[in-house]
């Protein structure tokens, strides 16, 4: 037990929680926007994976890390664009299209990876780190939280920004109306489809960025199927957060911690079967749903396409 409380273990655990948690945070915040607007975005897993692939490809070919993130966002948004056209524009079933897009992106990126990288398995150089002066000197927290890639800080800053947007702005109200009572929004003269379209695109951008972070910062390499359900965890985080960005952050760090426990335990010299550790985040999701499932409230019009005049 003492081995678990060393600075090395705690640093590894917290650092791992942040590295694994940032993609979950971005995915969860993105999904939250879609859900607020009334779209259950099951395709988010595919959006993340496309972001991971394109982000890695562009960062590797251009040698420019920032360009890689832009490409990752663009990749996620491209998948989101297809989803928005089909589900918001044409009002097709959100679950069917979401699964279809995820399967398609899984297959496509695995194929492309096979033809481009499967003999060389190229890696990116270690990600750029931007230590925060002063704070980085703190024990444990310093190296784990304040010596990271700038995107980590940006992801954390998004939390209060989105909370402000949802609570204090007309845009936030518009989003909520699109998810709770789209007909009312329509009567108020705002086009429900446009609001939902933009919300889905935002989800794509966030998911793509999260995927690019996974490939370019956390792993340094693209591997087929590498998102491994992170997008689905993002959906759970958004469901449990009941519309509050801060709760997405808490959830992301907790699940990130569960995901990174293997490495941290190895640092502590404990050998626990990997399979057991890999079960932890999903077991945690189920436990949380058993305990708080009743409270996981979703917008009233979630998953229902809005067709003017239809009942």
């Amino acid at each position: 037990m003492e081995a678990l409380l060393t600075a090395a273990f705690l640093t590894a655990l917290l650092a791992g929680a942040v590295a694994a948690g940032v993609p979950l945070l971005l995915a969860g915040l993105g999904e939250q926007m879609s859900e607020k607007a009334g779209v259950l975005n099951i395709g988010i897993e595919g959006m993340m994976l496309m972001g991971a692939y394109l982000g890695f490809l562009v960062a590797f070919e251009s040698g420019n890390g920032a360009l890689g993130f832009v490409a990752g966002m663009a990749g996620g948004m491209a998948v989101a664009f297809v989803m928005a056209i089909l589900c918001v524009g044409l009002a097709l079933n959100q679950i069917v299209i979401g699964i279809g897009l995820t399967l398609g992106v899984e297959g496509l990126t695995a194929l492309l990876h096979h033809f481009q990288f499967s003999t060389t398995y190229p890696r990116l150089p270690a990600a750029w780190r931007m230590p925060v002066p002063g704070l980085v000197e703190l024990p444990v927290i310093g190296p784990a939280l304040f010596d990271r890639h700038p995107l980590v800080y940006l992801a954390f800053l998004l939390v209060p920004l989105l909370a402000w947007l949802y609570r204090r702005t007309a845009l936030g109200l518009t989003l909520r109306a699109a998810g709770e009572k789209p007909a009312a929004l329509d009567v108020a003269g705002i086009d429900v489809a446009t609001v939902r379209f933009l919300a889905v695109l935002f989800t794509g951008a966030m998911a793509g960025l999260g995927g690019a972070f996974m490939a370019n910062v956390a792993a340094g390499i693209f591997i087929p199927f590498m998102t491994g359900g992170a997008g689905f965890i993002g959906i759970v985080l958004a469901m449990l957060a009941r519309g509050r960005p801060a709760w997405v952050l808490i959830g992301a760090v907790v699940f990130g911690g569960a995901l990174s426990l293997t490495t941290a335990l190895q640092v502590a010299g404990l050998n626990v079967p990997t399979d057991l550790i890999q079960m932890l985040p999903f077991a945690a999701v189920m436990a949380v749903l058993v305990l708080y499932g009743r409270k996981a409230r979703l917008p009233a019009a979630l998953g229902l396409p809005y067709v003017r005049g239809a009942r």
Binding site: I42, N93, I95, G104, E106, G228, A283, M286, G293
Partner: protein, 360 residues
């Protein structure tokens, strides 16, 4: 979704003037998306520098028109048909059981653990029966938590069943490596059921007897869901839980029953694959058949007989695709792209058809 598909199909039969038009209509909304998906996926092949005609030709030759390939195709149908049965029950009852891959694997582990052990004490027939029943039971148990959460707390089952699949994949590995490990090999796998004691093959071919089980499962499910009072109850719950409650149905109980039946078939699918084909289970084995069967069941509009046809062609595609991966160098991931295109184009065709009818 279940409701919209149903009405589309029913109206299709009712408002068209003759059987010829009805048939032409069905061909349009079914064959149209299939052809479009083949063309679109062919373009992907073209972009990757592979001749689509050569690829499709090879796949058809290997999976359909060679005797060896056809036998493999028919054998592969067995688990896919059981999974289709699992999905038809769930989807017709309005429940999104997306966790069939986890239920499948846990069923497979159960069979792989039970059969090689029981064969030392029981006759082969009894072993197969017990191992298959065990697989179905464990598959059903793996869905119990999502079922209770959905029935009594209204927690969205899409999420919980997906989570249970991720959990199940690791749990299955853990069971194989720690509990049911065969000490006689260096590969982490369970003990092996001797070939002679596996499911019998059909009429001197290599086709697994599991095919018969799969066919029976789909047909029985189809008939129960469309022709019996029990099936009507389940469909009522799916289309309108409120109406079902007003009709005096025990909605939570029926919900749990749907999960149990659906996941039971998924577990059985895993059992059949082990008892008929592999004889053991290697750690890390996860064919993930489930997500690909979903589009097939949609394409069949939840109709069991149509599902059999689509499962047959998809099996041929899988067997041919696996062979093409070795021969032509296109990984079998391509099948995923094709299935995704199919699913999306099918939904699109459904939409266009609906609009056309409303306009006309």
């Amino acid at each position: 979704m279940s409701a919209s598909l149903e009405t589309t199909l029913d109206e299709g039969g009712a408002d068209t003037s003759g059987p010829r038009r009805a048939l032409a209509h069905l061909a349009l909304v079914t064959l149209g998306p299939i052809l479009a998906a083949l063309v679109l996926s062919g373009l992907v092949l073209l972009a990757l520098g592979v001749d689509p005609f050569a690829y499709y030709g090879y796949v058809a030759q290997r999976g359909l028109f060679s005797w060896l390939g056809l036998q493999q195709t028919l054998t592969r149908m067995a688990p896919l048909l059981c999974l289709a049965a699992a999905l038809i029950v769930a989807f017709r009852a309005g429940i999104w059981n997306l966790g069939i891959d986890g239920q499948f694997l846990l069923g497979a582990v159960t069979s792989a653990a039970l059969a090689p052990f029981l064969i030392t004490v029981l006759p082969a027939g009894a072993v197969l029966l017990v191992a298959a029943a065990g697989a179905a039971l464990v598959g059903a148990l793996w869905s119990l938590l999502p079922a209770l959460l959905r029935a009594y707390q209204q927690v969205n089952e899409i999420i919980t069943t997906l989570m249970m699949t991720f959990l199940g994949v690791s749990f299955a590995n853990l069971l194989v490596k720690l509990v049911f490990l065969d000490p006689g090999t260096t590969v982490p796998q369970t003990r092996t059921l001797p070939v002679a004691d596996r499911l019998p093959t059909l009429f001197g071919t290599t086709i697994s007897g599991g095919l018969v089980l799969g066919l029976v499962a789909v047909v029985v499910v189809h008939l129960v869901m469309t022709r019996t009072a029990f099936g009507l109850k389940l469909r009522t719950v799916g289309e309108s839980p409120l109406a079902a409650r007003h009709a005096g149905l025990d909605v939570p109980l029926l919900t749990v029953a749907v999960f149990a039946i659906s996941a039971g078939f998924a577990g059985l699918a895993g059992g059949i694959e082990i008892l008929g084909v592999h004889g053991n289970l290697q750690a890390g084995w996860n064919p993930a058949y489930g997500l690909a069967v979903i589009p097939l069941v949609f394409l069949a509009r939840f109709n069991g007989f149509a599902a059999i046809v689509f499962v047959f062609f998809y099996s041929a595609l899988m067997i041919g695709g696996e062979s093409a991966a070795r021969r032509i160098g296109v990984p079998h991931y391509f099948t995923l792209v094709l299935v995704a295109n199919l699913l999306i184009l099918l939904a699109l065709a459904e939409y266009l058809d609906h609009r056309r009818r409303r306009a006309g």
